[in-house]
């Protein structure tokens, strides 16, 4: 993928291809203050003024080209920012960069010049925790209103005191019309937060030059529901699991549950029975179909306009999957089906009937997908609308930490299911779909093809489940009633959710609930690429590009 010469990437690797942390430490030199061991990877503690040097060394010389997530937290004696880095070429190679800052002067260097994706992540860290980043181009609040007092996830924040932001205190949307300069001919157009095409409460400040988009700035935070904090107050064993469903109301709930299940199982060292893994894999892929079908249907809505045929056909086809998942999990959207160490229920009886339903759906699927291709991809108007619009260069996409169908639509061959296998994926036969176009059309194609791949996976899972010996159907491992991991255990794990990579960072403090629970929503990073796609194009393409990102605001704002 990379244009760099071969050979430069081998720094920091052992002969077996594992990450050689000692060599990396030597590479970073005197910036390193110490080492920490997280459950997923080693982490280097570095000086707060050496962030850019360290990250660019790791990026340029050791090949860690993917800043996966930035976690900020406050300890009794210090603030800490953790940069979770990995590689697009090999997801299993990870390294953490821990940047402690003092309580009195919580300033550390910004990573934004090295990784564009750090821009929003650091704004969020500033907003919620209160760490300041020197050199950051635009350090404003991102989730909370500008007038908010204090930083909600910091220790001295008074959570009992309500804060009301009145309309008057808010920025007047009618003022300050001309963004660039006063004598320019541009017009500021507020798209959203209530707009038919923003798929939720997203506010896009678009500066228009006629019909063309001169500047775009997504403004998020309208549906910030303190999901991280709610998870910090829940117990590992039970109370957190219902919430991941609520980060994605597009149907991808099970995939999100898996993100938490994977992280917490790593943290508490729980092994999941093989049978449960197959059930998980099958149900998660059904969930992915739900989400991708919605994405395609809603994309048709964005480009066709009105709730017309393609959207309704998409809804109809989803209905079948929703019924299957309702039979399995008991709900159509907020499944709450996974448990730590397994799943809540075995397949519904009679099993044959259930398998029959799934098979019928899989058998009908090619015909239905053919319809989508007829309606969308082979339609000439759709082609002129989507081909070569909303172009996202693969290197830019990497810089922004794009994942999921957005990255794969830009030709980046990256899929956590394959690159860092979990569940039963590595034992099944399926392919990672990539398209080199990098435009809206490519992303649409990727989603449609991924539905096919998911169907392939489901089919194989059903084969396995049909022949599974009855005495060996363990759906849940033995998990203690209360889980209390060792204090200060840190873990960051991620799964391939529908919108992109969904990562979760947990730090334990010896109690039965997490001390810090950080969510890396795939949509959060993907949405950040919108200005790269939309600037210079027409307003209709801005809407089409936004739709092709398939962001879900529950995951962006959390």
């Amino acid at each position: 993928m990379s244009l760099e010469e071969p050979g430069t990437r081998d720094v920091g690797l052992t002969k077996a291809g594992e990450v050689n942390y000692d060599e990396l430490e030597a590479l970073l030199g005197d910036a390193v203050l110490g080492r920490e061991t997280h459950l997923n990877a080693e982490a280097f503690v570095i000086r707060p003024d050496a962030v850019q040097d360290t990250l660019s060394t790791l990026k340029e010389e050791a090949g860690f080209d993917f800043l996966n997530c930035v976690t900020a937290q406050e300890y009794q004696d210090r603030y800490e920012t953790i940069y979770h880095m990995t590689k697009y070429d090999d997801r299993t190679q990870e390294v953490g960069v821990v940047v402690p800052t003092s309580k009195d002067d919580p300033v550390s260097e910004s990573a934004e010049p090295v990784f564009r994706t750090a821009d929003w992540h650091e704004r969020e860290a500033y907003d919620l925790v209160g760490i300041e980043y020197a050199d950051h181009p635009d350090l404003r609040r991102i989730l909370l209103p500008e007038t908010w007092q204090g930083h909600p996830l910091s220790m001295d924040y008074d959570q009992t005191k309500p804060q009301i932001v009145t309309l008057r205190e808010n920025k007047n949307p009618l003022q300050e019309d001309q963004r660039l300069n006063d004598d320019s001919d541009t017009m500021l157009l507020n798209i959203g937060p209530h707009h038919p095409a923003t798929h939720g409460v997203l506010h896009v400040e678009a500066t228009l030059d006629g019909e063309q988009v001169a500047d775009v700035e997504p403004d998020i935070g309208y549906i910030h529901r303190c999901e991280e904090q709610m998870c910090q107050q829940g117990t590992y064993r039970h109370q957190i699991m219902p919430y991941p469903d609520r980060w994605d109301w597009g149907g991808a709930g099970l995939l999100n549950e898996w993100a938490y299940a994977r992280t917490a199982e790593e943290l508490a060292d729980i092994d999941v029975p093989e049978y449960a893994q197959v059930v998980r894999t099958m149900s998660a892929e059904l969930s992915r179909i739900l989400s991708h079908m919605l994405a395609v249907a809603a994309y048709a809505l964005d480009t066709i306009g009105d709730f017309t045929a393609t959207f309704m056909y998409g809804m109809q086809d989803r209905e079948v999957v929703q019924n299957i998942l309702e039979d399995l999990t008991g709900q159509r959207l907020m499944f709450n089906y996974f448990r730590l160490g397994g799943v809540a229920w075995d397949l519904p009886e009679p099993r044959e009937e259930f398998f029959e339903k799934i098979r019928a759906f899989i058998d009908d699927l090619p015909e239905k997908l053919e319809e989508y291709h007829n309606l969308l991809t082979s339609n000439e108007i759709m082609q002129v609308r989507t081909v070569d619009t909303g172009y996202l260069d693969p290197e830019v996409a990497k810089n922004y930490g794009a994942t999921g169908p957005v990255a794969r639509g830009s030709g980046i061959d990256y899929d956590v299911r394959r690159d860092d296998p979990y569940g039963y994926y590595d034992k099944l036969d399926w392919d990672v779909v990539t398209e080199d176009g990098g435009d809206n059309y490519a992303r649409l194609l990727v989603r449609l093809q991924e539905v096919e791949e998911s169907a392939k996976i489901i089919n194989q899972c059903v084969d396995l489940l049909e022949d599974w010996p009855e005495e060996d159907r363990t759906i849940q491992a033995n998990v203690p009633r209360t889980i209390k991991p060792e204090p200060d255990t840190e873990v960051y794990k991620s799964v391939e959710a529908a919108k992109g990579e969904l990562g979760i960072y947990i730090r334990s403090d010896g109690t039965d609930s997490p001390a810090r629970f950080k969510i890396r929503g795939g949509s959060f990073s993907n949405l950040q690429t919108l200005p790269e796609m939309a600037e210079g194009e027409y307003i209709a393409d801005l809407i089409a590009s936004l739709g092709s990102l398939d962001t879900i605001m529950g995951e962006v704002d959390r």
């Binding site: 039970h238 219902p242 039979d327 008991g330 309606l375 108007i381 082609q383």
Partner: protein, 153 residues
Amino acid sequence: MIGLLKSMATTMKHALDGETFTVEYPEEAPEVSPRFRGVHKFSQERCIWCRQCENVCPNDTIQIVTDDQRNGEEYNLHIGQCIYCRLCEEVCPVDAILLTQNFEFTADTKDELAYNKEQLKNVPWYKDIDPLESREPDRGAWIGEGEGELDYQ
């Protein structure tokens, strides 16, 4: 042009086949699966007031009041706040809680959505689904309960 015509042919095919997927609610109530999680039903007869459901509830929907001898006095549930996660049913050691298939309820104010134990006991079964047909584990104990209609006005 071929693509455009193919699109138009596809929609016309749907128009002419006459199939619809509309569910004409409420004349035609939708089928729900046996595992569906609807309104919380509570049986005081079986409850041992262990408070596990109260503790496991992710967002404090259940409120239990006991006297000094830990005898149960009140069991309240704010159904407007319930997220239907079924964790209460899962942890209940005596099957005193069941999430019925019933999802049909309404109220004029949020206040009315706070159900006490009598109201929770009388939550009707959805479409008279036999509790035995309800999900596992076997809920035979529930037969004969909750025939009463709840007055939602």
